[in-house]
């Protein structure tokens, strides 16, 4: 990381830490929006570890969010400390990912992706029908929310932790293995990458982060239902955010999360009936066709164009 970028990240971080003390009393809306951005950012980063780094596009990641959310929603009213409930949720999500990974990673590319639709759907159906545990379609209500500032810092910590982990993975041996799998699974295998193991590890990490995110989600909304946390729309959101920002990068999912949460709020009002998905669908096609690296790719292009122009201007002068 160069110096400019380090300073930029530090400033953002300080701003994020100071923000609740500046806004808490006057504008809960700002805190709420920032909270959502951090939460979405963590989710998008988690998805990106498997989808972006390893190129395994999953349409069923809501399953892990749901397991985390439900674990907390079930344990919290029983009086279990959150310090226990949240890690248990993460662990359960992780274990579930291992159970799923074994059959799913026998499939490749698009076939894996179709199977993940099934995983998400099957998990939602289980949650919907296991009424004694999950309350069925009517969902579960939590007893009391932690103060908004606490929620805010939980989301911030989760997001920073997820991004830091992603940054570390990307520059580690493990990250290179994932990149090799993305580019060519056969070549990776030939070069000695244990592809199934690496993919399963990426899925596990991704699932654990989403499990924690699910707990934070449940504690924020105080209500979970199969349609919300296990819904297919939730999984779609995980896919869209990293792609908008920049697939397989560290900061891309964050940028995508900012845009996604903002645009979605705006569109939900002006375009009911899934209008937001229409916009995101068009955006997705445009990005994939014209700039598969997302917003980061566009920024990169602009920067290069400016650099090319700068020496030319110097010569003229």
């Amino acid at each position: 990381m160069d110096r400019g970028r380090t300073i930029f990240v530090a400033v953002l971080l300080v701003a994020a830490i100071v923000a609740p003390f500046v806004f808490a009393e006057r504008a809960e809306f700002v805190i709420d929006s920032l909270f959502l951005i951090f939460l979405y950012g963590a989710m998008a980063t988690a998805w990106n570890v498997l989808g972006g780094f390893a190129g395994q596009v999953s349409f069923g990641h809501a399953a892990f969010l749901g397991i985390g959310a439900y674990t907390t929603a079930i344990l919290q009213p029983l009086g279990v400390s959150l310090w226990i409930a949240v890690p248990v949720g993460a662990l359960l999500a992780g274990l579930y990912s291992l159970v799923i990974g074994i059959p799913a990673f026998r499939l490749r590319g698009p076939y894996f992706s179709i199977a993940t639709i099934g995983i998400g759907e099957a998990t939602r159906l289980i949650a919907l029908n296991w009424t004694s545990l999950t309350g069925g379609a009517s969902g579960l209500t939590l007893s009391a929310a932690p103060p908004i500032v606490a929620q805010y810092f939980a989301a911030l910590a989760l997001c920073v932790g997820a991004v830091a982990l992603a940054a570390w993975i990307r520059s580690s041996r493990f990250g290179f293995a994932l990149a090799a799998i993305r580019q060519d699974p056969d070549a990776a295998e030939t070069l000695g990458v244990a592809t199934t193991v690496a993919k399963t590890q990426a899925l596990f990490i991704s699932a654990c982060i989403l499990g924690i995110a699910g707990s934070v989600y449940a504690l924020h909304y105080l209500f979970v239902s199969p349609g919300s946390v296990f819904g297919f729309g939730t999984s779609i959101g995980f896919v869209i955010m990293p792609i908008i920002g920049g697939l397989g990068t560290v900061s891309g999912p964050l940028i995508g999360a900012v845009l996604y949460s903002f645009v979605r709020d705006q569109l939900a009002v002006s375009l009911p009936n899934n209008g937001d998905l229409l916009v995101f669908g068009v955006l997705l096609i445009a990005i994939v066709v014209y700039e598969p690296r997302g917003i980061l790719g566009i920024v990169d292009r602009l920067r290069r164009a400016r650099r090319r122009r700068a020496p030319a201007a110097g010569e003229a002068a």
Binding site: V57, G109, S113, I114, A115, G118, E121, N274, D276, L277
Partner: protein
């Protein structure tokens, strides 16, 4: 999904008989698929495989949300005497539309099989699917073949949707479940033979129909997924592939 909606829409607005709808849908969808390949798919061919997957996911998102905007999320059915008519044979009652759909599906499968194995174009499609570069080397016009294959795929999906609209009620989310089921069938039976596809379809249909006896009906859609997982773990080559391996070995 779109096939079902267009059949419904032609029926309600133009009073077109649902059985005639495929006459419009199949050519129209062929053109749509061909155009889609020309304009979008072609651009991402050289990129990593997930890119084309994501692009088609985007296309699907757009189509589905357009369907929500145009037709809302209410479930639709085609209502007419033909749909409710039955015939009795062998002392049992059969629903006419079901028999019709069964016969049509069988005919399409056979026609497709003949097309893919007996005609030049069909063989070219299979060669391109196996290895695009090698197909080009032996003189296949790969660009044209890909367009046709894509159009054909979309046309058949539209036809399928149109047929399904005779049997079930549908919503814009109708296609997701079905693509999972078709995938399950392919994994079960293998794609290389008509027997495999028919076999996979029959196994899944039986599993679903009988599964409901032993579990709540709301879990019916879970069956295809469970079957998929079991097959992937126990019989990674699919049922037909396993049988073939057994026969050989």
């Amino acid at each position: 999904m779109l096939g079902a909606y267009i059949t419904w829409w032609l029926f309600t607005t133009f009073h077109l008989h649902p059985l005639l709808a495929p006459l419009i849908i199949v050519p129209a969808f062929f053109l749509i698929g061909w155009g889609l390949e020309r304009t979008l798919v072609r651009r991402v061919l050289g990129a990593e495989p997930i890119i084309s997957l994501l692009m088609l996911f985007g296309v699907w998102l757009v189509l589905q949300s357009l369907a929500y905007v145009i037709w809302t999320g209410d479930s639709r059915t085609i209502e007419m005497p033909f749909i409710e008519s039955t015939v009795s044979a062998l002392g049992m009652q059969f629903a006419v539309p079901r028999i019709y759909v069964f016969v049509m599906a069988g005919l399409i499968l056979i026609a497709l099989q003949l097309f893919l194995t007996r005609t030049y174009l069909g063989r070219a499609i299979r060669a391109t699917a196996q290895d695009r570069d090698a197909a080009r080397l032996v003189g296949v016009d790969v660009d044209r073949v890909m367009g046709i294959a894509f159009g054909l795929g979309i046309a058949l999906a539209g036809f399928g949707g149109s047929l399904l609209s005779l049997l079930f009620s549908f919503t814009p989310d109708f296609g997701r479940e079905l693509s999972l089921k078709s995938f399950c069938i392919v994994v079960l039976g293998g794609l290389d033979s008509i027997v495999g596809v028919a076999f996979g379809a029959i196994s899944l249909a039986l599993a679903e129909s009988f599964g409901v006896r032993y579990m709540p009906a709301s879990l019916q859609n879970l069956i295809s997924f469970v079957v998929l997982v079991v097959v992937l773990i126990a019989l990674p080559k699919g049922i037909v592939g396993t049988l073939r391996a057994l026969r050989r070995g």
